[in-house]
Subunit: 409 residues, 2 copies
């Protein structure tokens, strides 16, 4: 990489204690010595957020969202001030900035605010003055001038949004794993670290159980053309680049196999196959704020059909209630739920030009006697719902069948 | 008290854990039920600030003041969010505000900033909306838009400044003692809680070793005519009112006896008694940023004199160096220091019209064989420097001699 502007984001484990914070400062100083300008984004230290939530539980059964945001944003304040102190000890001039000071303007939806506008004037000034700005991840200030948080994965969003606004050359996401893997290494010991993944692939992986990056920050990065580099703050070695797909490059047919057992299946059966039924059903679910994932409907016999969908396990009771509420109105016969399901997914940008992937996936699952309950696809992804207790062996079999197993010890 | 606006400030021990925070919320709710509008000011929880400083020590040997302020202001953020949650559980509508949000504008002198301006618009709006604003003590925002802290006793200053700006009827300072006492109860078991103290008396007490309130917040309160009420957040009973002296009331001759062993004495001896010597000496001390307290000079024999002054024990070496630096220039013969000294002080607004106080003080100290090394007085105070190991018995003897001992068990 030529000399340029690098945004470096450090997650909770990367700033988990004094020693880790000093290591982060060493790395930032090293990056500066290579001639780069650096903007640092930090999360709260390790388990600090959990401690604050435990304290809140002790104090009150209710947590007004505005106050929850005020409470949790203390975390990044601590880590960023400590990182600046460690940078000073390294001879690197720096200054910390809250989300508000960094010009991260959000809507007023506390605990899961969306960024409306980036006005990082003070960050630009600090860079121009030769300083390393250290910015609080996860937090912003609303149009009503209240402190907000960006929800799960919010620090990554902060980093990507700053990289986009500052036109950075790369946004480095430092974490406790060495990159993005071809499968969860806890499930597939032979999983390999991927050197490069396209934004589209990464989004499909994030949406189907990949745990390294949240969908939201990848989307933001793609929309603004910010290359991401996911790497380890423990080994500091190069990790996985997430970049725009290069049309001149040959793509791996399948890059990764993901798994997700956090969902449940709901089936509404014996539905008359006529217009408006699905609209009524999914309208009711939407009204109740239930997010659906996979939806499958087959035209059945006798003009009747089954509609199945998956929801987060936490929402399964609410989803059943919603279905029951419209059951007689739409003329369905019954509603069933199953929380013992999981999803296995193969993702690969090269799938678009390789029609055999679906067949190999089904064959592989069939060969180990795994029954497929639902199927859903995109141009670069195939997902199958299977029994939860068959998920891990399915992932291993698919990882092997698609030639992803690491060679050697 | 008639219905009005009350500012209630809770110190670190008053919000030290979840149970204490719930007790604070109960008390605020009670005050609201009595019909008062309430503004709450909170410090960081108990030992939290010490924990943050320990963490900073682990991370780095240097602490840039700007970052130290960013670090420490996390503390009030946590306690105020938790207080709001507890208020919500009590059915009281509230909202937390950082120093910046509360419009506390300071200079840029990090770690000991001074308030330049109060713009508590959001606090007024919250009150108008029927809410209890909960404000972070100790912190503000500088004219350079950086987070600042107000130094020792800063949360009291925040409370008094808000009470002044909002024209509150009283500023209640809740702490872990039940009020202001006629002497430190650890030194004088028969010390009594004072029902009422004048601003002038309280300032003399704060300046000479009284530990309940800092000089600065009392000065601010007097300047803006804000009545203070120091009371306990453990018993919730009425404590000590600190108010403007009422000229129609008869004053106690002596209200309190204070002690202070945090200072050392420096003497520069054999100084020629001619104009300019003191100016040269104290100019040098001021240039080195050394704060002096008592200064005593006697005209001696042979045109030579001794000049003695007291400084904080921490500054004694620097003070000696400063004196040595000018010694030959001013023609002095020697510089001596003594860290084993202490100060005992009697304070009383009624002293102005009672000329016998000085005599009784000297007689009392003489009767127990205590030698007086230095004397300094104001219209309502007499201080004597004595040997450090005689301070406590001197305080007890004076407390008794001036009729302050509590009657009964």
């Amino acid at each position: 990489m030529t000399v340029g502007l690098v945004v470096q984001k450090f997650g909770g484990t990367s700033v988990g204690d004094a020693e880790r914070i000093r290591a982060v400062a060493d790395h930032v100083a090293r990056t500066r010595r290579q001639g780069h300008d650096v903007v640092v984004v930090v999360s709260a230290m390790g388990k600090f957020t959990d401690e604050l939530l435990r304290l809140a539980d002790e104090v009150s059964p209710t947590r007004p969202p505005r106050e929850l945001d005020m409470l949790l944003t203390a975390g990044e304040r601590i880590s960023m001030a400590l990182v600046c102190m460690a940078l000073t000890a390294n001879g690197v001039e720096s200054a910390s900035f809250t989300g508000s000071q960094a010009g991260i303007i959000t809507d007023t939806d506390h605990t899961r605010a969306k960024i409306l506008e980036m006005r990082p004037d003070r960050i630009r000034e600090a860079l121009a003055a030769g300083q390393v700005p250290v910015v609080a991840g996860f937090q912003g200030v609303s149009t009503a001038k209240d402190i907000t948080t960006l929800g799960r994965g919010g620090s990554d969003v902060t980093a990507v949004a700053l990289a986009a606004a500052l036109n950075a050359d790369v946004c480095e996401i430092y974490t406790d794993v060495t990159g993005v893997f071809s499968a969860d290494p806890r499930v597939v010991p032979k999983a390999q670290r991927l050197a490069k993944v396209s934004f589209d692939e990464m989004m499909e992986m994030a949406a189907t159980g990949g745990r390294v990056l949240m969908l939201r920050s990848v989307e933001y990065a793609q929309r603004h053309g910010v290359p991401l580099h996911v790497r380890s703050s423990f080994t500091w070695e190069p990790g996985t680049w997430i970049v725009e797909e290069d049309p001149t490059m040959e793509q791996a047919v399948v890059s990764a196999v993901t798994d997700d057992t956090s969902e449940a299946k709901v089936t509404i059966g014996g539905v008359p196959d006529r217009p408006g039924v699905a609209a009524r059903l999914f309208g009711e679910l939407a009204n109740r704020g239930i997010n659906l994932d996979m939806i499958v409907q087959n035209t059945g016999e006798n003009g009747l059909t089954d509609i199945s969908f998956t929801v987060a396990v936490l929402d399964v009771d609410a989803a059943r209630d919603a279905c029951e509420a419209v059951r007689s109105e739409v003329g369905a016969t019954k509603v069933t739920t199953d929380i013992n399901i999981g999803r296995v997914t193969v993702v690969g940008a090269g799938m678009k030009s390789n029609p055999g992937v679906t067949a190999l996936m089904f064959e592989t699952l069939s060969s180990i006697g795994v029954n497929i309950q639902m199927i859903s696809t995109s141009s670069i992804r195939i997902s199958c719902v299977v029994a939860a207790d068959r998920v891990e062996e399915s992932v291993r079999a698919l990882h092997s069948a698609f030639g992803l197993d690491r060679v050697g010890p």
